[in-house]
Symmetry: C2
Amino acid sequence: MAARTVKLAVIPGDGIGPEVVAEGLKVLSAVASRHDIAFDTTTYELGAKRWHATGETLPDTVEEELRGHEAIFLGAVGDPSVPSGVLERGLLLRLRFNFSHYVNLRPVRLYPGVTCPLADAAPEDVDMLVVREGTEGPYAGMGGVLRKGTPGEIATQDSVNTRFGVERVVRYAFEKAAARPRKKLTLVHKDNVLTFAGELWQRVVREVGADYPQVSVDYCHVDAATMFFVTQPQRFDVVVTDNLFGDIITDLGAAVAGGIGLAASGNINPENAFPSMFEPVHGSAPDIAGQSKADPTATVLSAAIMLDHLGLGAAARQVENAVADDLEARAKDGGDRSTTQIGDDLARRVAEQG
Amino acid sequence: MAARTVKLAVIPGDGIGPEVVAEGLKVLSAVASRHDIAFDTTTYELGAKRWHATGETLPDTVEEELRGHEAIFLGAVGDPSVPSGVLERGLLLRLRFNFSHYVNLRPVRLYPGVTCPLADAAPEDVDMLVVREGTEGPYAGMGGVLRKGTPGEIATQDSVNTRFGVERVVRYAFEKAAARPRKKLTLVHKDNVLTFAGELWQRVVREVGADYPQVSVDYCHVDAATMFFVTQPQRFDVVVTDNLFGDIITDLGAAVAGGIGLAASGNINPENAFPSMFEPVHGSAPDIAGQSKADPTATVLSAAIMLDHLGLGAAARQVENAVADDLEARAKDGGDRSTTQIGDDLARRVAEQG
Ligand SMILES: CC(C)[C@H](C(=O)O)[C@@H](O)C(=O)O
Ligand SMILES: CC(C)[C@H](C(=O)O)[C@@H](O)C(=O)O
């Protein structure tokens, strides 16, 4: 029996989700056997197929079962046959909100060997950690519609920002910044226009920052931030931002760091009151589903974030090193590999590592 | 006496604003003399200095005077000495809102010779027109703060989207798309999360689109759009989007099209019920103010958008051609010129054009 058994819920989801999750699990099992860990997995069929069959997105009983796990490993959910928002709000955001995933952790890092769309960027220029708030802001789902379908129609969408919600994610971001060599934290917001929310974010950063005198604090409007991601990515170390701005800049960050096939994320409840959830930033990509064309690297890197969260740092480093080696090898031979082949190679590299 | 006299209000503003506006006016006067136009200008001192001296951002009497002009030519407002939001909300947004500038028109175009931060982009890949809504959305200023300064504090920020407001800007965007060679319109939103507002935008695009069968319609989530701006900018022709998403993607667009020194905009009331306002996308850049280091090209291109709006298309084309020639020449000699020298060169090129 392994020294540590992790109860892991797996949600393969739709499109390429099951394909990339299979490779993620393959790499996890390679690393587990080297570290005397076991993953006790239970698979949950959630997503478009289930919704079509039963109308369910996330039954209460399933939510309750998921709660009994240490972590959730998710591929991707969504399909054009499902109305926009149904699975997003009914499954993905419901999990993030109900399990208090107030940290949406998204590293933006250009690995050596990876082709960057920016003409002048080198790996040392792109190495940031975006700490996106995950449980409030414009994602709260508040707002409504009045006089629908008439010329007098009005639709509102309300961003909700609480002292409690902002403070906990800002404190987490300061902790991360304090532990990194550059010790820099940038708040990204739009406080000159969104004055109510912006003032709260600014004030909380100032107040929490008093506890971290070693961290230098910067502020950048979200519009300017998108510009700097492209022209001066080295400006950023740790970035803390709200749910919507974080969504936007991390997709841009993924593009800058070599594409959505490499972008990993963790939806984290730092107190472990609920299971955290780990998923690639990319979606279900129905256009390439079932063809073994998807790059499982983003999912594998999300598994590394999960290992870190589970306190298995050495295993996480091994997975990351395997990815780094694989990306450098890719740059040399440029080989076209299937999803499965990339997963096999990563598992082998993990197994072979010194 | 000139055949046409345009009553123009000029707001030089703060920082580099007065420097770039001076060059814009220089180019306007060069083009005016070739087209038998005269600009009858009145300068308004608004911005940080006035606020410090009098506490005023935009007195009602000044707003009333501005209303009596055909157009407003603005440099930039803002200074770190003024609390964030005061001049933005009290002056810039007040003008956009009160003068019903529901179209915020922002071309994103890579001119030949201009250095693009993207490794693989050629001028033909980057040629879009962003039609940003200018009078509602999260910019409405609605929301508030409850229990400020306590652990139970909550700050809200409400996005307001009306059928009236969305329809008029969407219709304008379809008109623009129909007049362009590619005849493509992309709605950028986040309808899978901002479901109330997103559904309204989607429905209006569908309904108005029925009047434009020649225009092909596409949809892109704002997060994915930022990615595609960097990896596949050729995907976009005309983009229509809300006030906040438009703010974000046009700064990114400016970066992709060679930098904020070239990005022009018009805040337009298409019905001419109020004067429209033309301004560079960049801010007041206090760090380089007074050093004749700013590139006045964005302001000059904004003047070209103004000429178009005033029905002076031939003059607009002349200004644009002068800019295009200047940018190609720049690529060859790479000369470092002052703000004034660039303005002189542009005015000369306008005067010399066949
Ligand atoms: C699918 C969608 C709801 C989600 C989000 O907006 O958060 C995705 O874009 C992401 O970034 O994880
Ligand atoms: C200064 C600011 C209020 C403004 C905006 O957000 O619209 C600016 O960023 C712009 O894009 O014109």
